[in-house]
């Protein structure tokens, strides 16, 4: 198999320069390789720049340092191969579910005849289970359905990378679990590469292959990357009851808890990786440094 790098973040940094005030360095020195088909979650305290990192991968914001490459081509702007599901569904309220998905399909598959585009949209709406609701407007469906519609819109572009920005943050626990399972199913069925920003440690562990844990900002860096040692497909209940799950979870919580007590103002540059966390052999050393 020829080794071609898929999604690479190389020494990525982001500094906001707002007139007058001194520039705010949000992210620094982010190195990360994501393989094709991998599911990576990123967690960290609020304001550590997770969402900014996702925006840069989406091409909605420019990296001020370093570069982000997909298949060794640098990302310079948004593109249909990197679909985004936003935290607040961001469906257009004046379009039906079908209309919202059609907007994406029409924008990406411009050469296909109308009937084929329509079939594509309906296929994806069916895959997220909204077939009966495709003529409804966003205000007529529940929060979970809106997020499904957002996912259908993203997937209908047939992206290689799916970027999820706290996609289930606003949903109740049951709906959230249901949607997680659906995203995992779509991930497995379509060979997607997924990058997910989340606040929810259980969600990160249950869904992802690796968890990127961020230091606190400013100048946030990758603190640790934790490989999740569970085979797929995963079974929610038995997994969450297992001791292994508790161990991974404890590792994440400990990391975040330690971060909380570090003064944001005196974050030293990471010179040595923090002590490895023992979860079998599943811990990769911190990549930042």
């Amino acid at each position: 198999m020829p080794h071609q790098k898929f999604l690479e973040l190389i020494k990525v940094g982001k500094t906001f320069r707002t007139g007058g005030k001194k520039p705010a360095e949000i992210l620094a020195n982010i190195d990360l390789d994501i393989a094709k088909g991998e599911f990576v979650a990123i967690i960290g305290h609020s304001g550590c720049g997770k969402s900014t990192l996702l925006s840069m991968m989406a091409g909605l914001e420019d990296a001020t340092e370093g570069s982000i490459c997909l298949r060794e081509h640098e990302i310079t702007g948004p593109g249909p191969e990197r679909a985004v599901v936003f935290q607040h569904h961001s469906l257009l309220p004046w379009r039906t579910v079908l209309g919202n998905v059609m907007l994406a399909v029409d924008a990406v598959f411009t050469r296909e005849p109308k009937a084929e585009r329509r079939a594509r949209a309906e296929k994806w709406i069916e895959k997220v289970g909204l077939k009966e609701h495709m003529w409804k407007y966003p205000h007529e469906i529940s929060g979970g359905m809106k997020q499904r519609a957002g996912i259908a819109r993203a997937l209908s572009m047939e992206p290689e990378v799916l970027l999820l920005d706290e996609p289930f943050g606003a949903l109740d626990a049951l709906t959230r679990a249901q949607l997680q399972d659906e995203v995992l199913r779509l991930h497995a069925e379509n060979g997607l590469t997924v990058f997910m920003v989340t606040h929810d440690i259980d969600e990160a562990i249950y869904c992802s292959d690796r968890i990127v844990m961020m230091n606190v900002g400013p100048r946030a860096q990758i603190g640790q990357i934790l490989t999740v040692p569970f085979a797929r497909p995963r079974e929610r209940i038995s997994l969450m009851e297992s001791a292994a799950f508790a161990k991974v979870r404890a590792a994440c919580v400990r990391f975040l808890y330690d971060q909380k007590w570090r003064s944001a103002a005196v974050v030293p540059p990471v010179t040595a990786p923090p002590a490895p966390i023992e979860v079998g052999s599943a811990v990769a050393p911190a990549m930042a440094g």
Binding site: G77, P78, G79, S90, L103, A104, V108, H139
Partner: protein, 338 residues
Amino acid sequence: MQRFASALDICGFGWFAPLARLPSSPDRMHELRQFTLRVGLPMIAISTLLFAWHVVATSVQVGGMILPTPALVWDKGVEQVREWREDGVARTAHTALVAKTAADQGMTVNEVKQFMPFQGKRLFVNQIWLSLETVFLGVGVGVLIAIPLGILCGLSGTVFTMANPLIQLFKPVSPLAWFPVVYMIINKAVTSQDPLLPKSLVIAAIVVALCSLWPALVNTANGVANVDKDHRNVARVLNLGWFRTVWSIVLPSAMPAIFTGIRVSLGVGWMVLIAAEMMAVSPGIGGFVWDWYQSSNDIALAYLVLAVIVIGSIGFFLDRLCITIQLLLSRGAIAQVR
């Protein structure tokens, strides 16, 4: 019935919605109470005003002039409507006569009309129609200029910075200040003896347009500039082109703001219209007011008060019309009505 009730709500007859819901409502007392409140409270206010008016009008005399009572103004209103009906009958009879004469003499209808014109009076009800035509013409022209300009201002910071001082400069100018400028230009520019539209109507409409275009412009610019950031990002992720972004994302989300602008513009236009018609001596409601104001008749005051009430009612009706259109166009109402 529920649909009918929400349709009533949308059309501005929300007062009656509880009555419409009454037969199917699980809590009939509640609906009745609602109706009593929504209709009763305004009725109390209106009757208090009418009563106070009546008392003042019958007990106070201003320099020997008798003030019109509500009953007198009502009579004048009824009289105007009756005259309008009679005029309609006379007009139909005249049309028939003209047609018969034309057939008898072997001439065209237009030729007969030349020597047998209809000798109608200037009627208040017809003047209302003329005023409505003028205000729609004026506001229509104003809005047609304002919306494209507003979209440009909202999309481009450069255009907005260029236009903003001009908008701020012209926005507060009174119709009375615009009037002489427009009057002199149109008077000299229109030389035809039989122009497409009467000169006075054109002048009034232009003054209306000049005053009413600003609210629509400012609101449109605001609506276009404040499109939800998430929706803008959707357009960017989908790589929509400039035109697609404006057409599919920007305009629909600015639509409520644009409609609010049109609504304010129509309100301003209606206020300006009366002044413009008075000065232009255009035969609209403003002209009616001007004619009675010029007469030294004591009864004039009754007609003037009638005019005030009619102007207010039509302004209210126009506003309701705008709200109804806006509600129908907005997504929530579409779902409700269907």
